[in-house]
């Protein structure tokens, strides 16, 4: 029976790959349809974001996708995205610049590159990636060079279900596309390889690649020869550190992101690709081992943005991405004697392989990327990883005490 199940599952996966590969292999069809966008077609909820934020919807468009922000059934903003590598002018928060989008060679993820010049004349350049972590999740990783320091921002998106679409009174953009979308998502969410890491390192800054590797958390089964190959290919040491760490979760603690509690009081600024929380929190959160993110608003040099204090702001160029988190990657050796830990301001974490221990689609290495949102809790399948060391899991799950219960 089990064998049959495995056979069926394997066959389905293979079928999805075959279909998806055939789609990715021909990015432009007769109708000028870029099939590489297929996995994104649909509406997505920003994980951990406020309920009032709405949905981010991708719909087919000539040569790319039409990106819409839908709130209470109304399209707040739209924009066409084309993965043609051409510079498109963008403007946000008093800054002007350009953005390019290009897919990876296998068409499974989209790399972004941006450069802005703000009023005070400072240039802000950045790179990023939009990549699937599971067929129903994708993550948007952006890294911006702010005053010589690379600041990572991460947002995870969850596929909006039929109920949510009905709530917003919108039609599913993927309706009628059937297996092209489904198989595309399965293929796009396949575990990454070292070749992918190598390619990403040529498309993005080291910090972005590092954050992406940690966000996916795919064990890479890396060998010494692989490491030498990466090193000689010019892959950054910090990326290699991330590769080693996610591949050996029993030996390394990998933490990424931060929590809503830590940035309490800061409202999100949001505009596609350059989202972040208001910055006054500064280094009170998000610092880590060796390096860390600080509370910059990406377009401002210092950790303070007077125009964006405490309320949602944005739509800088058309529509918003919401609920983003500054991404912090902390990698350190896992203490041999220690099981769980108590984190100041964050409470207890059990030991074992995955920091944070929350179930996630794959890898289990990014407990904090948007995992605190109320909508994300129950719908994520998968495990937090397996490790021989660490706290013993009881299999029981705590729930909140009812109001007035004690």
């Amino acid at each position: 029976m089990m064998r049959n199940d495995s056979f069926v599952t394997g066959s389905l996966t293979s079928l999805c790959f075959a279909v998806a590969l055939s789609l990715f292999a021909q990015p432009l069809e007769a109708q000028n349809r870029d099939m590489r966008w297929m996995p994104f077609i649909g509406c997505w909820e920003a994980v951990g974001a406020d309920d009032t934020i709405g949905l981010l919807c991708f719909a087919e468009s000539d040569g790319g996708v039409e990106l819409s922000n839908v709130l209470n059934g109304e399209v707040v903003s739209t924009e066409i995205l084309a993965a043609d590598g051409q510079r498109r002018s963008v403007a946000a928060e008093g800054c002007d610049g350009w953005e390019t989008v290009e897919f990876s060679a296998d068409g499974r993820r989209a790399f972004t590159r941006t450069e802005f010049t703000c009023a005070e004349g400072d240039a802000r350049s950045g790179t990023g990636v939009m990549a699937f972590t599971s067929p129903t999740f994708w993550v948007d990783v952006r890294v911006l060079d702010v005053g010589g320091e690379e600041v990572a921002w991460v947002q995870e998106y969850l596929l909006a279900g039929a109920d949510r679409l009905a709530e917003e009174e919108i039609e599913d953009p993927s309706q009628g596309l059937g297996i092209a979308v489904t198989s595309g998502r399965v293929a796009a969410a396949a575990p990454i390889t070292l070749d992918d890491v190598e390619e990403a390192s040529t498309r993005m800054g080291a910090r972005a690649v590092e954050t992406w590797v940690v966000a996916l958390g795919d064990p890479l089964d890396v060998s010494a020869e692989d490491l030498v190959r990466l090193d000689e290919a010019g892959v950054s040491g910090r990326v290699i550190d991330a590769v080693v760490a996610v591949s050996h979760p029993d030996r390394f603690m990998v933490e990424a992101g931060t929590t809503v509690e830590q940035i309490d009081g800061a409202g999100p600024t949001h505009y596609r690709g350059y989202m972040g929380y208001n910055p006054w929190a500064g280094p009170a959160w998000g610092y880590g081992y060796e390096y860390g993110a600080f509370g910059y608003a990406p377009f401002y040099r210092y950790g303070y943005s007077p125009l964006r204090y405490g309320y949602p702001y944005g739509y800088g160029y058309g529509y918003g991405y919401y609920g983003s988190r500054p991404g912090v990657v902390i990698i350190d050796r896992r203490p041999r004697e220690s099981n769980g830990r108590v984190y100041a301001g964050r409470g207890y974490r059990q030991g074992g392989t995955a920091t944070g221990g929350a179930a996630r689609p794959r890898g289990g290495s990014i407990p904090s990327f948007g995992r605190t949102g109320s909508r994300s809790g129950g719908s994520i399948a998968g495990s937090a990883g397996s490790g021989s060391r660490g706290s013993a899991r009881t299999g029981r799950t705590a729930r909140r005490r009812p109001p007035g219960g004690r």
């Binding site: 010494a224 490491l227 290699i240 050996h248 029993d250 990698i331 050796r333």
Partner: protein
């Protein structure tokens, strides 16, 4: 004799157990072909053969009187070494070993009344304990990022050190009184310690990420006094060349 064999076996077993425990302790300290950090310590189990120079007058005497050859003082060696990295190419190595040659002989010139040989056992036992500096002629590996250290496959080294060697020279059995030609049973023993200087050269060959196969030639220089049982002899020549093979685990 059987007791000495048992004693040697016990020592070897203890060393092997320590080595096995060390190997178990470092399991999972690395990935496929690499360690998570550059190793700082190596524990080695080594064995080989010690070839003694045996050129002092006590050896001349026993070889002349008994059916012994200089090569009868050669013997297998077992030992262990703990190396601590002190610089990228430098280690301080603390080593201890054991070698014992025990040979049954008879008088060349004398026989017993019924023409039976007059037999005795001659033993030379050495226990060197040394501290040495080891210099690696090539880098031992390369670090990639903060969490990966990949060993070089072959790394030659030189070593030089000093220490102490405990030695025992003993003859036990039947002997002939040269004045009376009486045959008597006795045991003549010297057991002392003396300073030892050693130098060597070898090569480390990595086997996977944490084990190293080592081949080494090590020459020791030492002279020791003989005790009262051996009157009028000069210092005993304890020089010897050791040809060793070892397996070490690094962590």
């Amino acid at each position: 004799m059987a007791g000495m064999v048992r004693s040697g076996a016990v020592r070897a077993s203890i060393l092997a157990l320590i080595f096995a425990a060390s190997a178990a302790a470092v399991d999972a300290q690395g990935g496929d072909g690499f360690l998570f950090r550059e190793p700082r310590v190596a524990i080695k189990f080594e064995t080989g053969y010690g070839i003694q120079r045996a050129q002092s007058d006590i050896f001349d005497f026993v070889i002349e009187e008994h059916t012994l050859d200089r090569r009868d003082f050669d013997s297998p060696y077992i030992g262990g070494e703990v190396s601590i990295k002190v610089a990228p190419r430098w280690d301080i190595a603390f080593a201890a070993g054991f070698q014992s040659a025990s040979t049954l002989s008879e008088f060349r010139e004398f026989v017993d009344q019924d023409d039976l040989p007059i037999e005795q056992v001659t033993e030379l036992r050495l226990i060197p304990v040394t501290a040495a500096a080891k210099y690696y002629l090539r880098p031992r590996g390369r670090s990639i990022g903060r969490f990966a250290w990949i060993p070089e496959s072959v790394v030659p080294f030189l070593s030089a050190g000093i220490g102490v060697v405990g030695y025992r020279f003993e003859q036990e059995g039947d002997f002939v009184d040269y004045e009376t030609l009486d045959i008597f049973y006795d045991r003549f023993t010297t057991q002392k310690q003396t300073l030892l200087a050693r130098g060597g050269a070898g090569v480390d060959v990595s086997i996977g990420r944490q084990f190293v196969l080592t081949g080494e030639a090590r020459y020791g220089y030492a002279r020791g006094e003989l005790g009262a049982d051996f009157s009028g002899f000069g210092d005993i020549d304890l020089d010897g060349l050791q040809l060793l093979a070892g397996v070490s685990v690094r962590f």
